[in-house]
Symmetry: C2
Subunit: 430 residues, 2 copies
C-alpha cells in the first residue's frame, strides 16, 4: 500500500495550536461584539438541499462553486457555501414563535470550490450577524455600526479601512429608469459594475458600450458622470429624487450620530448575491498591501418568504476569518498569543504519582497543568516546555517531594523560585 498524503485537502487549512489561537482570538472578538448588541448565537447544519441556493444565491455560486452531491438517500445536497439561506429557512420555520426583532449570529465553516488564493480558501470560517423583522434605516445602521465596532475591537483605526455603501433599489432605478436598460441589459451592467475594479477602464468602457448597444453614446456619458459621484448630493437630479436616496441619507445620519466616520457613498458597489433588496455595504482594507474587500452585507427582505412564510425583512453581514487575519497581519494588529497551558510539570526520578497529585491540585485551583511522565532527563523536559511556549516549569524531584518545597522556573522572565504549593499557585496566577 502506498502511503497516504499528509497534505490537507486542496484549498483547506490545518490549524495547529499556534494557528488555532489566532483563529480563536478572531472568533472571540466576533462573539464579544455580537453579544454586546444583544445578538444570540445559533447553530445550523452543514448540509442543505441544493435548491435552497439555486433560488437566490447567484448563478456563479450554484453552478461553479458549490460542493454538491447526491446522498445515499437520493437527496441532492450541498455543503453550505454561505449562511443566509439557512438562517432564513430557520426563521421561516419558527416565524410565529420568534420575538422580533430577532437578532441572531453564528460562527461557522463553509465551503466553495474556488481557485485558492490569498485570503480565499475552499473551506472558510465566517461570522454571520442578521437582524430579522426590522424595517427601516435603524436596522441597516446597526449592522454597519456593529461591523465598525468589530474593527475597533480588533484595534483598527478609522483610517485603516473604508465602508462603501450603496442601495439595490437605487441601483435598480439607475439601471432601468435613468439608463433606460431592459432586464437583461441591467443584469449585465450590474455584473460589469461589480467587476469594475478588476478590469482596465478601457475594457470597462468597451463592455459597457456593448451592453448599451445603440444607446451607447448617451449611456456612456451618463455612466461616466455616475462614476464621478462621491456623495449623494452629486447625483443627477433625476436619481436624487428617488425614495431610496432619502433612505440612504437617513442611514448616513444614524452613522454620523454613532461616530462612524469612514464610510463613503459608492454607486458602483453591487455585492454579488441576488437576494439583496436594499442597502448594501462593503468594508475595504486601505492598506496598500491588502487593498481589497474584507467583508460586506446588506438588506435581503425577500428570502424568508421563499420558504412559504410571510416575507420578513432582514439585514445582515458576514466577515470571514482568513480575510480578517490578513487585515490584522498587514496592520500589525495581531496580538502575541502564547499557549494557554500555564505550567509544565517535569517529574524527575520516581515521582510520577506525586507529580500527578500536584497536577490535580493545580487543576482544582484553576491552573492548566501539563504533566511530563516520560522520566526523561531534565534538559529534555525543559526543551519541550520551551517549544510549547508554556510560561512556567515546575520540577518534581524526590527531594522536592520530601520537603514539599518545589523549584518553579518562570521561562518568560528567566526567574527561579523555591515555593510550597500555595506559593506556586500564587506565582502562576499572578
Amino acid at each position: 500500500m502506498t502511503n497516504l498524503s499528509t497534505q490537507p485537502y486542496k484549498g483547506t487549512r490545518d490549524y495547529y495550536p499556534e494557528d488555532k489561537r489566532i483563529q480563536n482570538y478572531i472568533f472571540s472578538v466576533w462573539h464579544k461584539v455580537s453579544k454586546s448588541f444583544g445578538y444570540e448565537e445559533y447553530g445550523a447544519p452543514m448540509l442543505e438541499p441544493l435548491e435552497v441556493y439555486a433560488a437566490k444565491s447567484g448563478q456563479e455560486i450554484v453552478n461553479e462553486q458549490t460542493y454538491s452531491f447526491t446522498d445515499r438517500g437520493d437527496r441532492v445536497v450541498a455543503i453550505r457555501p454561505e449562511m443566509t439561506p439557512t438562517i432564513s429557512r430557520m426563521v421561516a420555520a419558527r416565524r410565529q414563535e420568534l420575538a422580533y426583532p430577532a437578532r441572531l449570529y453564528s460562527v461557522a465553516n463553509f465551503m466553495r470550490y474556488e481557485r485558492p488564493q490569498r485570503g480565499r480558501e475552499r473551506e472558510f470560517w465566517q461570522l454571520n450577524v442578521d437582524i430579522f423583522g426590522a424595517d427601516g434605516s435603524n436596522a441597516e445602521a446597526e449592522i454597519i455600526i456593529l461591523s465598525s465596532y468589530i474593527m475597533k475591537e480588533f484595534g483598527a483605526k478609522s483610517a485603516d479601512y473604508t465602508i462603501k455603501i450603496n442601495n439595490r433599489k437605487l441601483i435598480d432605478f439607475t439601471m432601468k429608469q435613468y439608463l433606460g436598460l431592459d432586464d437583461g441589459q441591467a443584469e449585465a451592467m450590474i455584473k460589469l459594475f461589480d467587476r469594475k475594479d478588476k478590469i482596465s477602464s478601457q475594457d470597462f468602457t468597451d463592455q459597457a458600450g456593448e451592453i448599451l448597444g445603440d444607446q451607447a453614446e448617451t449611456g456612456l456619458s451618463k455612466i461616466n458622470q455616475l462614476l464621478s459621484v462621491a456623495k449623494i448630493a452629486d447625483l443627477p437630479a433625476e436619481i436624487r429624487d428617488n425614495s431610496s436616496v432619502e433612505e440612504i441619507s437617513q442611514m448616513f445620519k444614524l452613522l454620523d450620530q454613532s461616530g462612524v466616520d469612514n464610510y463613503i457613498f459608492d454607486i458602483t458597489l453591487m455585492r454579488g448575491f441576488d437576494y439583496y433588496t436594499g442597502m448594501v455595504f462593503e468594508v475595504n482594507d486601505n492598506h496598500p498591501d491588502n487593498n481589497r474587500a474584507l467583508f460586506g452585507g446588506g438588506r435581503y427582505d425577500g428570502l424568508v418568504g421563499l420558504f412559504g412564510a410571510e416575507p420578513i425583512s432582514a439585514v445582515g453581514m458576514a466577515p470571514g476569518g482568513t480575510m480578517m487575519e490578513n487585515f490584522l497581519a498587514v496592520h500589525e494588529l495581531l496580538p502575541k498569543l502564547r499557549s494557554l497551558t500555564n505550567v509544565y510539570i517535569a517529574a524527575l526520578g520516581d515521582t510520577v504519582a506525586e507529580a500527578n497529585k500536584i497536577a490535580s491540585q493545580l487543576r482544582a485551583a484553576g491552573i492548566n497543568a501539563e504533566l511530563d511522565f516520560s522520566g526523561r532527563k531534565l534538559d529534555k523536559q525543559l526543551k519541550v516546555a520551551f517549544k510549547k511556549e508554556i510560561p512556567y516549569v515546575l520540577f518534581v524531584g524526590e527531594e522536592e517531594v520530601k520537603t514539599g518545597v518545589y523549584a518553579l522556573k518562570d521561562i518568560i522572565n528567566s526567574n527561579d523560585f523555591k515555593l510550597d504549593f500555595a506559593g506556586i499557585v500564587d506565582q502562576i496566577k499572578e
Copy 2:
C-alpha cells in the same frame, strides 16, 4: 415555484439560541477540562480524501456511512465521519517539529449516514482529545482520568456512569491463542462480542457456535467462562500470564491513585474502529432511561505511520454533544441557561438617538444591550424582552432623557428601579 422546505436536512438539527446555549455549555466544559490537562486546541478541514478512512476506520463506516463524493477536480473525498485519521495525518505532517508528548484537542462537527435515532444524528459534534508520543499506561490512564474529570465537571457522580476497560492485545491473544481461532474466525468473533448486548444470549451462543465450527464444545465452554470474568484475577491462568494483563493492572493502579472508582474490567468490550492496538475503554450511562455507551476511546499506535512517517504512539477519546446532552437531561444535570443579553432597551417616543447613545455606553461598560428602535407601545416591547428571557428592561422615554434618571425593570425578581447611568450599570452587573 413551489416553496422550499423549512425542515433541516434529515438527521441534522437547527440550533436555535436556547438549544445553542446548551451546546455551548457542553462545549465550555470540554474546553475547560481539556485545557486544564495542558491539551491545546487545533482545527482541521471538513473534507479528507476517502482513502484516509478506507485504511483503518472499519468497513461499516466507509462503505455505508460516509458522505463521500467526487469533487469538481475529480478527487474522491468524504465529509469527515471522525477525527482520528485527520489528527494522525496532521501529526505525521509535522512529525519532526512537534514537541512530545503532543497533547491536542478539538471540538468539531462530523457526518455519518446512519439511521437517525435517540442520541445519534447524521451531523454531530464531538470533542477529540489525543496524546501522541507517549507509550505506556500513564498516557492511557490520563485519557481515562480526563474523561472522568469531564463527567465530574458536568456534575455527574461516580454511580451515574461506569467506565468499561479492555485491551486489544488481550482480545487478540484470547481469540487466537486461548480460543485457537484463525484470523477470519477471530474477526467474526470480535464482531459478535461487540454486538453481545444487542442480541439475546441464545442468539449469541448460536452464532458463537457457528464461528467455532467443530471446536464449538470446548470453545463455548471457554467463552462462557470468559463472560463471567469480573476482574483480572478471575481470568483463566493461560490468559493471565499475557503481558497485556500486566499493562492493564498497571493502569488500574494509576486510576486508583487518581480516585477513579467506577471502572470495571470487561473482556467483551471491543470498540468498533480497526485502528485500536491496545487499551480500549467506554463510558456507559447507568441511568435506566439512557442505559448505553456515551463515548469511548483507546490506544491506536499504528495510524500515524500510515502517512509515511515513523509510527507514533497515540491514545485518544471522543465524546459527542447529543449523547452528553441526553446524559445530562436524564440525570437532571442541565443548568438553567438564560439569554446572555443583559438588558433590553425600550425606546419610547422620539428617543431612538438617545437610546442608541445609552446602548453604546452600556456596551462600553461591558454590558450586552439590545435596543428596540421599533417605536412600538411599551407593553409590546416588554413582551419581546420576556420572550427572549432577558433579565432587565431599561425604559428610555422623553421624560427620562430630560432628567437623566431611567426606569429599570428587573424581570427575574419583579423589581423596579429609578436610576442614573452609573446606577444602571451597577444594578445590571450585580
